[in-house]
């Protein structure tokens, strides 16, 4: 009898826990909202990761409202969004803000033909297969309610409000649970091999 009770408690507790982790349509969806999606809340702002150049996302994506995909051009064509090539930076910065010390660092690297060694902020484990391309298609390009200029809102689902950050921080947990809940809410694939390679 005791075992039956303990077992039942475990099962019920697990079920309640499980249900708590699943968002139903009545849940309040916080943060930047992509129409037609469900979105779990995380209130974490991340830790600082030092970078060779103090690149400010706020100036670019926030103040100047440059589309994320202008620089992260690979995101819609590949599994990785990629760091923009130096030539892209120099496309503007041969004329814009050339007097700033961080830009001068950049120019010096360009002239030497060196690329900066950025420190990876959003790094998934090596056994995870994640593709930007598919997610962008699902939430941005195939989404009737969003214009391509709203890319920021899709990106921030996993990357947080990057446009308000200077150097990017990892503000979402990017754990399996984080992924799964979004997949469940948006009817993404639930097959293990879809993400585990």
């Amino acid at each position: 009898m005791v075992v039956v009770l303990v077992g039942a408690i475990i099962v019920i507790a697990a079920q309640i826990l499980d249900q708590k982790l699943h968002y139903t349509s009545t849940d309040v969806v916080p943060g930047p909202i992509v129409p037609g999606t469900q979105y779990p809340d995380e209130a974490f702002t991340g830790i600082d990761v030092p970078q060779p150049i103090d690149f400010s996302h706020k100036i670019h994506a926030g103040d100047n409202e440059i589309n994320c995909m202008f620089c992260h051009t690979y995101a819609r064509r590949s599994k990785v969004s990629g760091i923009p090539p130096l030539s892209k930076c120099m496309g503007c910065h041969t004329v814009i803000a050339t007097e700033k010390p961080e830009i001068q660092k950049l120019t010096a690297m360009w002239e030497k033909g060196e690329s900066p060694q950025w420190n990876k902020v959003h790094d998934l484990p090596d056994f995870v297969h994640f593709t930007h391309q598919r997610h962008l298609k699902r939430f941005l390009f195939d989404n009737q309610e969003l214009d391509v200029s709203d890319a920021k809102r899709v990106c921030s689902m996993c990357h947080g409000d990057i446009a308000e950050m200077t150097v990017a921080k990892k503000s979402r947990p990017l754990t399996m649970g984080f992924c799964i809940r979004c997949h469940e809410a948006n009817e993404g694939p639930s097959d293990c091999t879809k993400c585990h390679k």
Binding site: V2, G7, A8, A13, S115, K120
Partner: protein
């Protein structure tokens, strides 16, 4: 007491359900800061091409240089690294397919034992030096005497370059050395049917009778022939009969495998010819009377005595050949690897003539309109010449690339003694093999996936192509240089005319091919590179037939010793594959042994010698001995012992060194009387147990299916009844 009501099944069910919830919760543990964050670097591109996308592989065409077949390859390049090779479907050589050696070329490219920097011999030891120093030393010494080049099979513009350099330094001789070749067959074809490289149509044959020619493994162009073999096996299905003393990969696929006494292949061919003429009414058009007399002397009974093959089997081969036309008779491998090898090839061609195959399954090939680009096909006769010339002091300066003469030459040739008499030896190599270790200057070469080049495939059907090789990635070892670049620079330094316009080999190659194709448009050049090949003009040949000299005599004293067969294998090849772990761990097709050499013995022989499977045995010839483990099976003639070529390196790298034995080293130095090819199946050895036993690393510990339906086999008749073709 109440607990007993919960049976085990329910209990597990409860746990299982709970487990599912807990497991899901476990995925959500608050690991906001993962260990990975900020730990790895991402380095952005500087100014990438439009088609370079991180995370997306791009396929580039190139050419495999693993053997002289010249298969077209596609290399998958991602983030600047080449990750996988596949066949180029547009290549007429391999139609998109690759053999294991082609697949493993990646491990040569990324090999940890590649030479990173030039080396120069100082006070008896090789020490690292700068390119300038090494080149200066070569320029100083290279005109100081009679110079020569040693290469493997070489073709295209690399050949032109090497010969230009040789001319500029006043050298004369170019030794093309290749242990695994079809020189005897090709020489016989040239003499007898007037075409050294005829087209061989396996797919048209209804019966293939192969005297040792391992066309699926090591004969001329194995991937191409494997593709033709697949067609040959499509209903109505052809029959493959293979006669050889030790089972090759092709033998392993034979419908009928005839284990014959080493060196008796010519006699077998004559016996079959005799049965064809006398029992099956084959006329023998075009066969000379002298040959017919010889055939008449070889009735099946006599031949049965020579070859140790039952009369019935000889009759059966003849009957099969007579009943199914067209057929195809080939000779190579072990059949041509003895002092009478040429006779075996001549006899095979004679059978083809008798059976009317010349013009049907053997047709005329095409000759390049630019003979200066054609293959200089390596052979082992050149290896012998090299040893003799070096010993006689005819060589003062030697350039070596793409060949490893110190590994390949039998001790009886005294190659090392000759080598030491050569005043100045330069080796261009990407690996520190036996030859490079003994050089005065070692120049580190780029791998085949980092280099430019053009190649003529050793075998082609229909039109002839120039196969192009292009770098698939930046050099793994930055201080290495391409073969063409090095030789171009050396030739320029030596004052070769007409090269001043070219800064590098790429420039030379591009301008040469543009001239060849009479175009210098960027677009067309890119088209050639994307295709990995470009067609070049060729001229048709015409076949004729005149009997070759067939001498069936075997110089065989039956002294109770065994005949050593140094067998060639796809995989290790001539030893170049030995430092690639994929190939070391890829089981041999027949013995299934990995990571070591082995000696094949017939159970009868093993029993009489008191040897068990896995015993170390001592194999001793007049010129040396090797010790390796016995592999006992029935795919070998009881009078033979077979040891595969390719292992037994004393250098080359961590995987190859001190791994296995090299049977070539103990060959007695006999060679084919016509072509001078070193005989690989003509050395007598004594064999005794070395008194140790250790379990061999091999894939199959059992050879039998024990009634399980693993590889099911049905008879060809049954297949014809169900799938047609009868």
């Amino acid at each position: 007491m109440n607990q007993s009501k919960l049976d085990r099944r329910q209990f597990l069910k409860g746990l299982g359900l709970g487990g599912a919830g807990v497991a899901l919760a476990g995925c959500d543990l608050p690991s906001y800061v993962t260990l990975e964050q900020g730990e790895e670097n991402v380095i952005s591109y500087l100014a990438p091409n439009e088609y370079v996308i991180p995370g997306v592989g791009v396929w580039y065409a190139s050419t495999c240089v693993g053997c002289s077949a010249g298969c077209g390859i596609h290399g998958r390049v991602r983030e600047g690294r080449v990750l996988k090779l596949e066949g180029n479907p547009d290549s007429g050589v391999n139609m998109g397919r690759l053999c294991q050696m082609g697949q493993a070329a990646l491990q040569h490219h990324f090999n940890p034992d590649r030479i990173a920097n030039p080396m120069v011999r100082k006070n008896g030891a090789l020490v690292e030096a700068s390119w300038d120093e090494a080149i200066a030393l070569i320029n100083e010494k290279s005109k100081s005497g009679k110079a020569a080049w040693v290469t493997g099979t070489i073709s295209g513009h690399q050949r032109v370059m090497a010969q230009t350099h040789l001319g500029a330094i006043g050298g004369s001789r170019h030794y093309a050395v290749e242990q695994i070749n079809a020189n005897v067959w090709k020489t016989a074809c040239k003499d007898i049917i007037n075409d050294p490289n005829p087209e061989i149509h396996l797919e048209k044959a209804k019966v293939i009778f192969s005297l040792g020619a391992d066309f699926l493994g090591t004969f001329i162009s194995p991937v191409h022939f494997a593709a033709s073999y697949a067609e040959f096996r499509t209903p109505p299905r052809g029959t493959l009969i293979q006669a050889e003393p030790a089972m090759s990969l092709t033998g392993g696929n034979a419908d009928h495998w005839v284990g014959i006494k080493p060196g008796s292949e010519t006699a077998l061919a004559l016996g079959v010819a005799n049965a064809l003429m006398n029992n099956h009414g084959v006329a023998g058009n075009g066969i000379s009377n002298a040959t017919k007399t010889l055939i008449n002397k070889h009735d099946p009974e006599t031949v049965a005595g020579i070859c140790a093959v039952p009369v019935g089997r000889i009759e059966k081969i003849a009957a099969s050949l007579a009943a199914n036309s067209p057929s195809l008779v080939l000779a190579g491998g072990s059949a041509t690897g003895n002092a009478n090898g040429y006779s075996a090839a001549a006899a095979a061609l004679m059978l083809n003539q008798m059976l009317g195959n010349i013009g049907t399954t053997i047709t005329a090939g095409r000759e390049l309109a630019y003979p200066q680009l054609d293959l200089v096909e390596g052979n082992s006769a050149n290896l012998k010449d090299l040893a003799i010339d070096a010993n006689e002091g005819k060589i003062d300066v030697l350039f070596v690339s793409g060949a490893n003469p110190l590994f390949l030459a039998p001790k009886s040739l005294k190659m090392l003694e000759g080598w030491n008499k050569v005043g100045f030896k330069v080796v261009l190599s990407s690996m520190l093999d036996e030859t490079a270790e003994a050089a005065d200057v070692v120049l580190p070469l780029a791998s085949s996936l980092e280099d430019w080049g053009s190649h003529i495939p050793s075998y082609a059907k229909g039109t002839r192509n120039l196969a192009l090789q292009q770098p698939l990635m930046e050099p793994v070892f930055p201080n290495t240089r391409g073969f063409g670049d090095v030789v171009l620079a050396l030739a320029k330094d030596a004052g070769a005319p007409g090269l001043d316009d070219y800064d590098d080999y790429y420039g030379y190659l591009r301008s040469a091919i543009s001239a060849l194709k009479k175009t210098d448009s960027e677009k067309e050049w890119n088209g050639f590179l994307m295709a990995g090949q470009t067609q070049i003009p060729s001229l048709g040949r015409k076949l004729s037939y005149s009997d070759g000299k067939i001498t069936p005599t075997m110089n065989d004293s039956d002294d109770g010793n065994l005949t050593l067969i140094a067998s060639a294998r796809m995989g290790m090849w001539d030893g170049r594959g030995a430092n690639l772990p994929w190939l070391q761990e890829s089981p041999d097709q027949i013995s299934k042994v990995v990571w070591d050499s082995w000696a094949e013995l017939h159970p009868k022989t093993a029993k009489s010698l008191g040897i068990k499977d896995g015993d170390y045995i001592n194999i001793k010839s007049a010129s040396g001995e090797v010790t390796t483990r016995a592999f006992i099976y029935k795919g070998i003639h009881p009078g033979a012992i077979a040891v595969p070529i390719g292992r037994g390196h004393s250098a080359l790298g961590r995987y190859a060194k001190d791994n296995g034995v090299n049977p070539l080293s103990i060959l007695n130095g006999a060679s084919d009387s016509k072509t001078g090819e070193i005989a690989t199946t003509a050395t007598k050895v004594s064999v005794k147990s070395a008194g140790k036993n250790k379990q061999m690393a091999k894939l199959m510990e059992i050879d039998r299916q024990h009634g399980r339906k693993l590889v099911a086999t049905i008879s060809a008749d049954k297949q014809r009844r169900t799938e047609g073709g009868a």
